[in-house]
C-alpha cells in the first residue's frame, strides 16, 4: 500500500499517526462458517474489539453480511485477511472511523 492509505498504528508521515476505530465491511460469505463463527474468528484476531455481524440477504449458497468492527486500533490487513480466510469476499468498505493522533514526540 502506498503512503496515501490509512493503516492502523502506521505513521502517515514523520509526525502524524492514524488509527482505525471503526470499519464496516460489506461481505459475501458462504452459509458455513456461521455468522457466529465468522464474527468470532474476526474478534479473535482483534483483541479488545467489538464485532457485529448483520445478515442483509440470504441466497442458496451464500449470504451478504455487514460486518462492523470497532476497537481502539484496528488492523485493516489483519481483518481483511481473516475474512478471506474464512471464505468471505469483501464487496466494499461501507463505513470507516479513523482517529488522528499527533505523535507524542512532536507534542513535546
Amino acid at each position: 500500500m502506498g503512503s496515501n492509505y490509512i493503516i492502523a498504528d502506521k505513521k502517515t508521515d514523520d509526525t502524524n499517526m492514524i488509527r482505525i476505530k471503526k470499519i464496516v465491511f460489506d461481505v459475501l460469505k458462504p452459509h458455513r462458517p456461521t455468522g457466529l463463527e465468522f464474527a468470532s474468528a474476526v474478534a479473535e484476531k482483534c483483541p479488545g474489539s467489538v464485532v457485529n455481524l448483520n445478515v442483509e440477504a440470504v441466497d442458496q449458497n451464500t449470504e451478504s453480511v455487514l460486518l462492523r468492527v470497532e476497537g481502539e486500533s484496528l488492523d485493516f490487513d489483519n481483518i481483511s485477511n481473516t475474512i478471506l480466510e474464512m471464505g468471505g469476499s469483501i464487496h466494499s468498505v461501507d463505513e470507516v472511523e479513523v482517529i488522528h493522533l499527533p505523535d507524542a514526540g512532536a507534542e513535546e
Binding site: 474468528a41 478471506l84 471464505g87
Partner: protein, 192 residues
C-alpha cells in the same frame, strides 16, 4: 495449526462423514472376517498359519480398498462442492478454510475408511493369533474369533444406536441378527 485444521473440518461436517465411514467399513471388515472364520470352520481347516495368512491378506486388501475408494470418491465430491461454492462466491477459495477442508477431508476420511476394517479385522482374528503364539484360551481359536466378531458387530450396532438416539440394545441386537443371518447363509451354502 490444530485449531485451523479443526475449523476447516468443522465447516464441512467432517464428524458425521468420518463416523459414517468408520461404521460402514468397520461393519464391512467385521462381516468379512466373520465369513472367513465360518468358512474355515466349515472346511475343517486347522492350519492356523493358513487361516491367519488368509485373514490378514483380506484385512490388508480391505484397508487398501477402503483408503483408495474413499480418497477418490471424497476428493471428487469435495472438489465439486468447492467449485460450486467458488461459482456462487465468484472467487478463488483455494486458500480459504473451504479450500483447505476440500484437501484435508478426503485424506482423513480415507485414513478412517482404511484403518477401520483393518483394526477391526485384526481384533477379530486376535484369538487365532494368540493360539498361533501358543497362548492358552478358554475356547478353540476359530470359535473364539467367531465370538469376538459377534461382539464387535454388536458394539458397532450399539454405537450407531447411541449416535442416532435409538435404543442401543435394539441397535446392537439388529447388528447381531445381521451377523447371524450371514453365518446362516454361509452354513446353508455349505450343504449345497
Amino acid at each position: 495449526m490444530f485449531d485451523s485444521i479443526r475449523a476447516s473440518l468443522g465447516i464441512t461436517g467432517a464428524h458425521g462423514i468420518v463416523r459414517r465411514y468408520l461404521v460402514v467399513n468397520g461393519f464391512d471388515g467385521a462381516l468379512t472376517m466373520l465369513g472367513l472364520i465360518v468358512g474355515f470352520y466349515l472346511s475343517g481347516t486347522t492350519e492356523l498359519r493358513v487361516i491367519l495368512g488368509a485373514c490378514v491378506g483380506a484385512a490388508v486388501a480391505l484397508a487398501v480398498s477402503g483408503f483408495s475408494s474413499a480418497y477418490i470418491s471424497e476428493t471428487a465430491e469435495k472438489q465439486k462442492e468447492l467449485r460450486e461454492l467458488e461459482q456462487a462466491m465468484i472467487t478463488d477459495m483455494a486458500e480459504s478454510i473451504h479450500g483447505r477442508a476440500s484437501r484435508l477431508l478426503p485424506l482423513l476420511v480415507a485414513f478412517v475408511n482404511g484403518m477401520s476394517p483393518f483394526v477391526i479385522s485384526l481384533l477379530i482374528i486376535s484369538p487365532i493369533w494368540a493360539a498361533y503364539l501358543s497362548i492358552a484360551m478358554p475356547l478353540p481359536p476359530l470359535e473364539a474369533a467367531f465370538v469376538v466378531a459377534l461382539a464387535v458387530l454388536f458394539m458397532l450396532g450399539m454405537y450407531l444406536g447411541t449416535v442416532s438416539g435409538i435404543n442401543w440394545l435394539w441397535a446392537g441386537m439388529r447388528a447381531l441378527i445381521i451377523a447371524l443371518v450371514t453365518s446362516a447363509i454361509i452354513i446353508s451354502l455349505n450343504f449345497l
